[in-house]
Amino acid sequence: MKTRRVTAGVASVLALSLGAAACGGGGDDNDGGGNGKKDAALNSIVNASSKKGGTVSYEHSDVPDSLDPGNTYYGWVQNFSRLYGRTLTSFKPAAGKEGLEVVPDLAEGLGKSSPDAKTWTYKLRAGVKFQDGTPVTSKDVKYAIERSNFAPEALSNGPTYFKSYLEGGDKYKGPYKDKSAEGLKSIETPDDRTIVFKLKQPFADFDYLATFSQTAPVPQAKDTGAKYVQAIQSTGPYQFQSYEEGRGATLVRNKQWDPKTDPIRKALPDKVTIKFKVNPVTVDNNLLSDKTTADAGGTGVQPQTQPKVLRGKYANQTDSSYAGATQYIALNLKVAPFDNIHCRKAVQWGLDKQSVLDAMGGSPKGDVATTLLPPSVNGYTKFDTYATEGHKGDVAKAKAELKECGKPNGFSTIMTARSDRPAEVAQATAVQASLKKIGINIEIKQFPAGKYFSNFAGVPSYVHKNKLGMLSMAWGADWPTGYGFLDQIVNGAAIKPSGGNNLMELDDPKINKALTDAIGNTDAAARTKAWGEIDKMVLDNASVVPVIYRKNLLLRPTSATNVTVTQAYLGMYDYLLMGSSK
């Protein structure tokens, strides 16, 4: 008895201290976030400042794949590496839609294309130097692309679009093995300031590829392969003062950077620091208490921090941005009964998407999706082929489709989810509950995320054999255009024996042709329009059930200046603009 009373006493003391911690300095009437209001950084620059100096400090709960611009796939590193690596083109550091605009960076202008969109020429700006004073030449850009795309034995992390699109890309062995002076023949450098790319197919989005950190020049003489990350040669306003693998880095001003050669960087802070592997809750607490400038990962605060910032004094410091990704369900066209369009449409009409969103965490997690392209991608067109009131589904229409499909009483199928993604498991459970109302009985099977594409959902033979009819999927684009988003997931050519991302196994000649035609079209406006049309074709086919457009709940500390969300980099803050009053 006595013990119990004492335990209760101690418990209440602990509960009190926890409560005090949770309140987090209540009673302070500071408005927070400078001139910011909730979501202010979505379409404007919050705490605009032109004051030089200060230190911007980033923290990240994880480690990057690599800070080497030639060895990374991570969106936030693409954004961050612009501080020390100038790419041929980049995204305009600006608020709102303007941030999706591609502008020349290392190059004087955007790429000059041949009429067939197969040859792209860039002219480099004069006077750009590496941190050691050596002038940057077109050969350094060529070399950077060669090492990043063709040397997986040393640099395996980055995407390989250049390898796929450049002529002879499948034959070239990479600069570490092929020691010939000319290297990859389809990148020509007629003089020190000109670089010409010869592609094997028309590709009008090439200016977007040129924004990849892989086009940041690397001097061959200083390349040490996988170890280059420890001695990156900067061309941007900052260079590495220190770098500790897996732990962090400090960047200071690069004296060789000449603002006259660089119209897009203001480079206000004197110093930029980044720390890796910081406990995620600590990152959030440091943002709340203004000890750090931004969470480098840019995917938003932790679930346990959300209640603290959704309302109350911190609410004005939050930005709920589109993460450039759509969560959807792929209905496999080779698994009965989804080989029948009416059974697919039954799911489209029957699903209560609002209940699914609620189960996944509600509005902080995203908005209900009606299209495959998310709103922050060039080419997004708003439409809803299967519109129902409040996105709650339409049982009558769903039942009518079931009848046409020859399954008036419904059917049974299997739905997949990645076991280590709680939101996806919650999604599957909510879908299961929702579709039960129209007689579709779902069995949920979970798979580990790490092998989801290589061993399970991405392997058609496995999917067919195990009759996996509904496959959970989430997708974000490698570059923010309709092509960058759609090509890997709806093009028939993207169906692979394993590791594929076209989980519907959608191979519609009309869709394939529309993609090929549009990417060969050098008229940007016509191209942008085409992406929306292709999106409609996919929804008409009914094999993709869009569920939510993902969102990040970002938090900007009071000392952060020039804060704006960039849609070009998955809805995180723009790190070229970011400054600090500290």
Binding site: S17, Q230, T282
Partner: protein, 352 residues
């Protein structure tokens, strides 16, 4: 007594000690070999028995865009195409003399002890471990000092005041300490002293060699939260040991001889009660260096425990191997030291 009077006996004694140390060191090396063999087998042999091919293993190195050619190249570069026993031999050889790999324009030498290269970053494993060992070691050392002092003191006081309020209170706190997980106490300390009343601006690791005062100051919270857990355990152990010892006949004899209570407690009681504590301490300390995962994670310290978690997440086998061996090394080393210290504090132990 004989040793002090007889030089020959002293020499014999020293030889015995030397032989004992040598035997124990050799035993330790053998043990490490066994650990490395078992770990190696778990990662490189068991998957093969389970049907995984060298190609699949090599694919993990190559990354997303694996084509047969690059897989073959990496397989050759890392020797994954060789039989497993040969790979193990090469691994051991690398530990002693280093190895050469090509991950860039030129071949680079991975100096001894070469634990190989990270699958993910293609960076040598050992320099990474070398940077992280001081962090884990610092964490363990400071926490150990705190928990030994507070734990043993509390235990002794509790035992001497058995049943009194001070005993009840301290044993209750000890129970709480044993029961509260580090991610709870750690978070509470962080919330209170970093965010609520910011005594500390942040918890960072400052190398001891750079500034010992800053080193200690910045590690104080991790030390305290880790020590809370252990000192509770040690208090309970000491109390139990002391209670038993203090009821022994020789304590009564010592008191009867008219020795002061302090001498009785410190010299006769505590010394004997400490023996099992030292054994456990050696194990705890050695284990802690490699496994303070929770503390390192809560306080964002970049020690080898947190590093191993990341490596396991990334399926980065060479790092996991490296951490396992380093952790095993510390456990073996600490046990060795304990065995040597044992004899010094307990006259009943002989070097045999």
């Amino acid at each position: 007594m004989a040793a002090a009077d007889d030089p020959a006996a002293a020499t014999r004694g020293r030889t015995a000690v030397a032989a004992y140390i040598l035997r124990r060191v050799m035993g330790a090396v053998l043990l490490l070999l066994v650990v490395s063999a078992v770990t190696f087998a778990i990662f490189f042999l068991v998957p093969r028995l389970g049907g995984q091919t060298a190609d699949q293993l090599a694919t993990q190195y190559v990354g997303k865009d694996a084509n047969p050619e690059s897989v073959a190249a990496i397989k050759k570069n890392l020797g994954l195409d060789q039989p497993v026993y040969e790979q193990y031999w090469n691994f051991l050889k690398g530990l002693v003399v280093g190895a050469d790999y090509t991950f860039g324009p030129d071949a680079t030498h991975c100096g001894a002890p070469c634990f190989g290269y990270s699958f993910k970053s293609h960076i040598e494993v050992w320099p990474q471990l070398e940077q992280r060992i001081p962090v884990s070691f610092s964490l363990a050392v400071g926490a150990a000092v705190i928990w030994l002092v507070t734990g043993v003191t509390t235990g002794v006081i509790s035992a001497l005041r058995k049943g009194r309020p001070i005993d009840r209170v301290s044993m209750f706190i000890a129970l709480a300490g044993v029961s509260l997980p580090i991610f709870f106490t750690g978070q509470i300390l962080l919330a209170l002293f970093v965010y609520e009343i910011p005594v500390w601006d942040s918890i960072d690791y400052v190398p001891f060699t750079e500034n010992p005062a800053e080193w200690a100051w910045h590690l104080m919270l991790p030390w305290v939260s880790l020590a809370f857990l252990f000192s509770a355990l040690y208090a309970r152990l000491t109390r139990a040991g002391m209670l038993e010892t203090m009821s022994e006949d020789y304590i009564r004899t010592a008191r009867a001889k008219g020795l002061t209570e302090t001498t009785v407690v410190a010299k006769h009681g505590l010394r004997s009660a400490l023996t099992p504590i030292v054994t456990i301490f050696g194990m705890d300390f050695g284990t802690l260096v490699g496994t303070a995962v929770l503390t390192e994670t809560v306080f964002s310290l970049q020690g080898i425990g947190a590093y191993s978690v990341q490596a396991i997440k990334d399926n980065d086998l060479p790092i996991v191997m490296g951490v396992t061996l380093v952790a095993a090394f510390f456990i073996v080393l600490c046990n060795l030291i304990v065995d040597l210290v044992y004899a010094a504090i307990d006259p009943r132990v002989r070097y045999s």
